[in-house]
């Protein structure tokens, strides 16, 4: 296990809905080390999305401390959080969230645009990232010319093009068939081997089996937190069929 990448100390999140206070997260303390792949599970309303948003620096906790790569980030302003997301994190979403009418290459370049990287380096790094996810020959395709699995690969390439410490994936296989899901999980495991930490939110136990640690949330609290030997995802169709 590497050194801690994420450390939270009693983070809580409270919303006001009319007169009712909703406690989406209640004093969650969690430590995730570098290189881990953590699957966060739980029923809807358990707080797993809120936890992911806070850990992904899209939102701030109402109380508690959050250290990301040794830096206390719970009170940063919106501009600083945006920079942190740009440099430290990569996102993969259930609905891919690619820019339509924009080529795969330009989609992957997008984070680098905000990082102030020169055009030449942007192209080179985006090509490399697309090559890494096996889409070297689809660089100039638009999202609507690609299958769901290919679109999600573009999203993964976009997440890793900035060389992030952490990839936050929110139901990344939710819109994919089981075969493509395994392909994507194989890709994540490959990234994990190169040292990238993965935070995976899912409600599918089959997908959680590919993670090295499973955190189950319930009513805004961590119900269980167990390490496991991850199942190796093999993108080979026959093997994938057999594994399921």
């Amino acid at each position: 296990m590497g050194k801690p990448l994420i450390e939270t100390s009693k983070i809580s999140k409270m919303y006001r809905m009319g007169d009712v206070e909703v406690h989406a997260l209640r004093e969650v303390s969690l430590t995730i080390s570098e290189g881990e792949s953590v699957a966060v599970m739980g029923p809807s309303g358990s707080g797993k999305s809120t936890l992911m948003n806070i850990l992904g620096c899209l939102d701030r906790p109402s109380s508690g401390d959050y250290w990301l790569v040794g830096e206390e980030v719970s009170q940063l302003d919106r501009n600083a959080l945006a920079q942190l997301r740009n440099r430290t994190l990569g996102f993969v979403f259930q609905s891919f969230n690619l820019l339509s009418r924009t080529t795969a290459l330009e989609n992957v370049e997008l984070p680098l645009l905000y990082a102030g990287v020169s055009a030449r380096e942007r192209h080179a790094r985006a090509r490399e990232a697309l090559g890494r996810v096996g889409l070297g020959d689809r660089m100039h395709h638009h999202p609507n010319q690609m299958s769901g699995g290919q679109q999600q690969r573009v999203a993964v390439a976009r997440a890793l093009v900035t060389h992030p410490h952490l990839i936050v994936a929110d139901e990344p296989t939710g819109n994919l068939d089981s075969r493509t899901s395994i392909e994507i999980m194989a890709l994540f495991q490959e990234l994990g081997r190169s040292g990238i930490t993965l935070l995976l939110v899912t409600h599918e136990p089959d997908i959680a089996r590919y993670a090295s640690r499973v955190v189950v949330m319930r009513d805004g609290r961590v119900q269980s937190d167990e390490r496991q030997t991850p199942l190796q995802a093999r993108p080979d169709p026959a093997a994938a069929e057999a594994a399921l």
Binding site: N53, L58, D59, R78, N79, A82, Q83, R85, N86, R87, F91, F93, N97, L98, L99, R101, L110, P111, L113, Y114, A115, G116, R158, T162
Partner: protein, 409 residues
């Protein structure tokens, strides 16, 4: 993100909706072209007025003698001779703001050549008269100081009179004409001056030395000037000063008691010119203001479309924020889009405005006057419209919550 990058992203976004972008820009195009065309028209009209007054002469004052009041019937200015030749001498020597002064004695008489005749205005003047009116001699020579002193019977003809008596383009220098039975030798012809602002033909006149006028044409009282004095000030700023100096001088010389009315009147032609120019300027401002209103309407169109665009692209904004766009990156992106729309509109508007100004000028026969400062202001103003009306939508975009924006369907 570099400014060039921001611009590229903005232009691409606008190009995705070409028709919409064009229609949005149309408001600004119409506004800017209207401002430029209106100002060009106003400037053309102003130049027309200036031209008319410039041909009259520069920095001129006209001094008229007093009025008669015979059994309750008031005569007009000049009906009662009050100005003396000594007054003229005093004005020339004592009023420091005065450059030139000349009498202008006038009578309408028949001018008779060998085989033609023509009724025109006979003017008795001094040599300075032509300097004041910036009226050069086209052929022959002008009236000289010695002509004044000896009262020689010489005459300068205006072009219209030459046309009528000798035919156009004839050179009658050296020939003679008769005015009231007195033969006058033609010493020269004046350059063509054209029409006054009121349509009066300046060239339909002849000029003789004022001393000759007194002796041969006028007769009567020799002490008083039976006509007007034309005075020019040393500069256009000095006209008011010259007017005061002459008034003070004449009141003093005529022993006018304090509080009593002047027994003369002074007309400031420069004031008349500037009053007319003021009128044209007001008209220009009015037209340009109406055009400017349409520019503001164009700005509201931009704001409207930008608000629609922000709502439509909520998800895009969410994606950009998730991958690291700061609120100010999003702000500048939408602001630059609004600016690009308004400045593109401004540039197209300038081109259209110039075309419109040219056509209108050709129609009215006015000089085309394109003012660069107006173009600069129009572009600046359309840019300002872009910023002012683009700011609210851009702020709205930059304040979106990335989580909400990503969930937006």
């Amino acid at each position: 993100m570099s400014p060039l990058q921001v611009l590229r992203v903005a232009v691409r976004a606008l190009m995705r909706n070409k028709l919409r972008s064009f229609l949005t820009t149309l408001g600004v195009i119409i506004g800017v072209s209207a401002v430029i065309a209106m100002v060009a028209i106003g400037e053309g009209a102003k130049a027309r007025v200036e031209e008319a007054f410039a041909s009259m002469g520069s920095n001129l004052l006209v001094v008229l003698s007093g009025t008669t009041n015979a059994s309750g019937a008031h005569g007009g200015f000049g009906s009662m001779p009050t100005l003396t030749w000594d007054d003229l001498k005093a004005i020339r020597s004592e009023a420091s703001a005065v450059r030139y002064a000349s009498p202008q004695l006038r009578s309408n008489q028949q001018v008779i050549s060998e085989d033609q005749n023509w009724a025109t205005s006979i003017n008795g003047v001094s040599p300075e008269y032509f300097l004041m009116r910036t009226w050069p001699v086209a052929m022959g020579s002008s009236i000289s100081q010695s002509d004044i002193e000896t009262g020689s019977k010489v005459v300068l003809l205006g072009q219209t009179v030459v046309d009528k008596l000798f035919g156009s383009n004839a050179d009658p220098t050296g020939q003679s004409v008769r005015i009231q039975k007195t033969p006058f030798q033609i010493i020269g012809v004046l350059a063509r001056k054209g029409q006054s602002a009121t349509g009066q033909d300046y060239d339909d006149a002849v000029f003789i030395p004022y001393t000759t006028f007194q002796a041969k044409i006028q007769g009567g009282l020799q002490k008083f000037i039976a006509g007007a004095l034309m005075v020019s000030a040393v500069s256009s700023e000095a006209t008011a000063r010259a007017q005061n100096q002459i008034a003070t001088l004449l009141r003093d010389r005529h022993h006018t008691p304090i509080g009593a009315d002047d027994d003369f009147s002074i007309r400031n032609l420069t004031e008349m010119a500037s009053a007319q120019q003021e009128g044209v300027k007001t008209l220009t401002t009015l037209l340009a203001s109406i055009a400017a209103v349409s520019l503001i309407v164009g700005g509201i169109g931009i704001m409207n479309i930008m608000l629609v665009s922000v709502t439509e692209r909520t998800r895009e904004i969410g994606i950009r924020m998730a991958v690291g766009a700061r609120p100010r990156d999003v702000l500048s992106q939408f602001l630059v889009e609004a600016l690009a729309l308004s400045i593109a509109g401004g540039i197209i508007g300038i081109l259209l405005g110039l075309v419109a100004a040219n056509r209108l000028a050709a129609n009215f026969g006015w000089p085309i006057l394109i003012r660069l400062d107006v173009i600069a202001i129009a572009v600046g103003f359309s840019g300002l419209v872009g910023v002012v009306f683009g700011l609210y939508p851009a702020q709205k975009a930059s304040r979106l919550d990335p989580i909400e924006a990503l969930r937006y369907e």
